[in-house]
């Protein structure tokens, strides 16, 4: 007993005060593009293992470079592949947001002859996600607002691994260690979905768990929130195209907050939870940039 007390006293307080303070100097986070250096050679798109970067030809002869951070696995290979050094990896990790659209970064360039000042309307990114259906999304928002006002300082979470690679689940488990200690924020995990306000889902939703995911969601009392944690839950990650996965949580349930990352750091998950409760504002917004014009063809 004395040994236990001595150990506890010697250790002292180790809990950190995120979001008041954060540590991420070395994290391999969000890749950033410099539109002035991008020459649309597609080396980055070819190197991307999760098809997060796409380059498309536009009807007017121009080109569009697009990165979907919901699909990004933060490997940094695009930055290595770019011959012009247009992509740099930053330590930015607070990428949680309400809409997949916020996670799009686009660079558009007009054809050489006609230089347009404004980029054309961007293509829709999210595919056939449930969030595209306005009826579901609106109803969900109303409930979410009510939930937020009622439960801003007290949130009960049911975690569900819907076929993840367990990295996100480990990071969620770490939220309960003495360093992150989410209970200090009024957030706790519960054993039954019937006691939960929020469903914290990891993984691209495997075929063998899809029905269990629905059942868990159905068992939760309304109003309820859904947060997708990690690249696989947000956009399928490297598993896109497999026969055994749905390819993201929003293919199955309406998602209130996306937390990109492979896996997101524990602090990024806390940020996502606080955004779900309206206690923090998302830091990411959709970015549309104009690229360097195509070099005129040599005469």
């Amino acid at each position: 007993m004395l040994r236990i007390i001595r150990t506890s006293l010697r250790t002292g307080r180790v809990t950190e005060a995120y979001p008041a303070e954060s540590t991420a100097r070395y994290y391999r986070g969000r890749p950033k593009i410099d539109p002035a250096r991008c020459d649309f050679t597609a080396a980055c798109a070819a190197s991307c293992p999760s098809r997060a970067i796409t380059i498309s030809q536009k009807e007017d002869g121009g080109q569009r470079w697009q990165m979907d951070l919901a699909r990004c696995v933060f490997c940094g290979l695009c930055a290595e592949a770019c011959p012009n050094g247009a992509i740099t990896v930053t330590g930015e990790f607070e990428l949680a947001t309400h809409s997949r659209d916020d996670l799009i970064v686009g660079v558009t360039r007009a054809p050489a002859a006609v230089m347009s000042r404004t980029p054309s309307p961007p293509p829709v990114a999210a595919g056939d996600s449930r969030n595209d259906r306005p009826d579901i999304k609106d109803g969900c928002n109303k409930l979410s607002n009510r939930l937020r006002s009622l439960l801003k300082r007290s949130l009960h979470i049911r975690h569900m691994a819907a076929g993840s690679d367990n990295s996100c689940d480990w990071e969620i488990a770490h939220l309960l260690n003495p360093v992150y200690d989410v209970q200090r924020l009024g957030i706790d995990f519960v054993a039954s979905p019937r006691h939960a306000d929020l469903l914290l889902v990891t993984g691209a939703v495997t075929r063998n768990l899809e029905i269990a995911l629905y059942a868990t969601y159905q068992a939760m009392p309304s109003p309820r929130l859904v947060v997708a944690v990690g690249d696989e839950a947000c956009g399928g990650g490297v598993l896109q195209g497999s026969y055994a996965v749905a390819g993201g949580v929003d293919r199955c349930l309406p998602v209130d907050v996306y937390v990109p990352g492979d896996p997101p750091r524990p602090q990024a998950i806390i940020q996502g939870l606080l955004i779900a409760l309206d206690r923090l504002e998302p830091r990411v917004r959709r970015v549309e940039m104009v690229g360097r014009p195509t070099a005129p063809a040599p005469r």
């Binding site: 040994r3 236990i4 150990t7 506890s8 250790t11 180790v14 540590t23 100097r25 070395y26 994290y27 391999r28 293992p49 999760s50 696995v73 933060f74 490997c75 940094g76 290979l77 290595e80 569900m160 691994a161 819907a162 076929g163 993840s164 690679d165 367990n166 990295s167 689940d169 480990w170 990071e171 969620i172 488990a173 770490h174 309960l176 260690n177 003495p178 360093v179 995990f189 054993a191 039954s192 993984g203 691209a204 495997t206 075929r207 063998n208 768990l209 269990a212 868990t216 696989e232 990650g237 490297v238 598993l239 195209g241 497999s242 026969y243 055994a244 996965v245 492979d262 896996p263 750091r265």
Partner: protein, 529 residues
């Protein structure tokens, strides 16, 4: 015995010669490939297993109909430092083979998986139920056949019903648990048959996290598959990435630079350390010892922050590349790593003193969840689970990879086979790993980080092996055309050890299951793929 039998049968002359040669030259470094007819398959496998004392390392089913018009099965055994493969062909008009399982229990899951994924039926298998595919998967659709179209949706159908084993008798109750559990863990379904508190029988239904990774890799470029290999599992990210890279490098005939080999080894030891320390903390959580759980969690966090400082990722992702490593740690970071490891080691020793000085904690561990030596051997257990039951195995020593060949690897073995032994093996190994990490950091050579691998020969196979924190991972790879992957078989440590968990539980209390499970700390995602 086999040799004498083989002499009677001209049909397996090659088998006789090969086995004889390999028996005579146990120190030979060369891998052996035995081609046998279907009728001789079981005999050859049990002979290699018994005569060479070689455990089954993996089994691969291949749809080779395009090239040879046949299916192919390859049973790979680990004989000393060599691989002995027993290979047979199956005619597509009659896709059946005699099961090897009755003479080689370790083959039981592999053969069920081949039945699910390729439609090859193991005749005489004692338990031919579905394993990977769940009840609503349609009959006659086999994902690993080359003519399976992965892009289209596979319909959910009624028809198949998984039969659990039921125990009948007065007072026996059946307790179903999962696939979604009360804590923050991965999905699996467990059926306990219990009388009062005591478990009589446990059956696990797993593969809820099956993501079709082996099929996903087929046809993809070899460097993209590395990114998939790294994401098979979180806790074993690096050991999977290194195992895959080594298989590709051996196909390409590439020797990685010395600095890369040492860095890989160093990072593999970091992976072992953060997992072992975290696992010891989780064992404390399993018995409700909150101070121990907090200390374990805190030390694991320190290790994961070191991972992030060194590599930009807390799970050491992005370290490995085909041909070497990607990230070059600066001298400043290397110094930081040495200091941090020194500090954490001292704190870890205090943590261990705390655990080993707390009698009520030890009382819960001792005699709980016992796995016998025989069970561990027969089921082919690996890693901590095997070493705690007296099986002396460690891929770092038995199949030297990365930079382990130049190191003296001590392999701690305990014999009591209970939760206590598994905890002690982790303690011993962590202390050895701290010393190894220190040694590797001080001997870090300068030089290039990687050599480029541009092209791969077609239809070449190789095996990559690593010792992950859970045990030996075996990756079997065959290349396809234009630098693509034709077949990728991933056998993780958890694949071998999950069946052992089911044997460790009967005789214990139901509430001790989480503790026993945590003492193995197996990955569902490694297994389910």
């Amino acid at each position: 015995m086999l040799v004498a039998e083989a002499a009677r049968d001209a049909e397996i002359d090659t088998l006789k010669e090969e086995v004889y040669r390999s028996l005579l030259a146990p120190e030979s470094a060369e891998n052996v490939n035995l081609k046998v007819t279907l009728g001789r398959l079981a005999e050859a496998c049990t002979a290699v297993n018994r005569h060479l004392g070689a455990p089954l390392a993996t089994m691969v089913g291949l749809d080779d109909r395009e090239r040879t018009g046949k299916y192919r099965l390859i049973y790979v055994f680990s004989a000393g430092r060599r691989w002995v493969s027993v290979e047979t062909e199956i005619d597509p008009t009659n896709p059946r083979f005699p099961s090897v399982t009755p003479g080689l229990p370790a083959a039981h899951w592999y053969e069920r998986e081949v039945q699910d994924m390729l439609g090859l039926i193991p005749d005489g298998h004692p338990d031919p139920r579905r394993l990977v595919l769940h009840d609503d998967w349609p009959e006659g659709v086999f994902p690993l056949r080359k003519d399976f179209d992965p892009s289209g949706p596979v319909p959910r159908v009624d028809g198949y019903k998984h039969r659990f084993h039921h125990l009948h008798g007065e007072g026996i109750v059946e307790i179903p648990v999962g696939p979604i559990h009360a804590g923050v863990i991965e999905p699996g379904h467990f059926r306990f048959a219990a009388v009062g508190e005591v478990v009589l029988h446990l059956e696990a239904r797993l593969f809820y996290s099956h993501r079709g990774i082996e099929k996903l890799a087929e046809g993809k470029r070899f460097d993209h598959v590395l990114q998939i290999a790294e994401r098979i599992c979180g806790a074993c990210s690096l050991s999977h990435a290194v195992a895959y890279s080594q298989a590709i490098e051996s196909i390409a005939g590439t020797v990685i630079p010395q600095r890369a080999a040492i860095l890989r080894t160093f990072y593999l030891e970091l992976e072992r350390l953060y997992n072992h320390i975290g696992d010891l903390g989780n064992i404390c959580a399993g018995v409700g010892f909150a101070v121990g759980a907090s200390q374990g969690g805190r030390l694991k966090e320190e290790m994961m922050r070191l991972n992030e400082r060194l590599t930009g990722n807390r799970f050491l992702r992005g370290v490995c590349s085909i041909g070497g490593v990607r990230l070059n740690p600066s001298t400043e970071v290397v110094r930081d790593a040495a200091n941090t490891l020194h500090k954490i080691e001292a704190e870890f020793r205090n943590f261990v003193d705390l655990l080993m000085g707390t009698e009520p904690f030890l009382d819960r561990l001792t005699g709980t969840g016992v796995v016998s030596y025989q069970a561990a051997r027969d089921l082919g257990a690996v890693g901590v689970a095997a070493r705690a039951s007296g099986v002396d195995c460690d891929a770092r020593r038995d199949h030297p990879h990365a930079g382990y060949g130049a190191l003296q690897i001590a392999v701690p073995v305990r014999t009591s086979g209970d939760v206590h032994a598994r905890a002690l093996v982790r303690v011993d190994e962590s202390l050895i790993s701290f010393a190894l990490a220190r040694e590797l950091l001080s001997s870090l050579p300068s030089g290039p980080l990687a050599v480029e691998v541009r092209e791969l020969p077609t239809y070449e196979t190789a095996i990559g092996v690593t010792e992950s924190p859970r045990g030996e991972n075996v990756h079997w790879v065959r290349t396809g055309k234009n630098g693509s992957i034709d077949r990728y078989r991933i056998r993780s440590a958890s694949y071998c050890n999950w069946p052992v968990v089911a044997l460790a539980v009967p005789g214990n209390m139901v509430p001790d299951f989480p503790l026993i499970n945590k003492s193995f700390e197996l990955c569902y995602s490694c297994l389910d793929r």
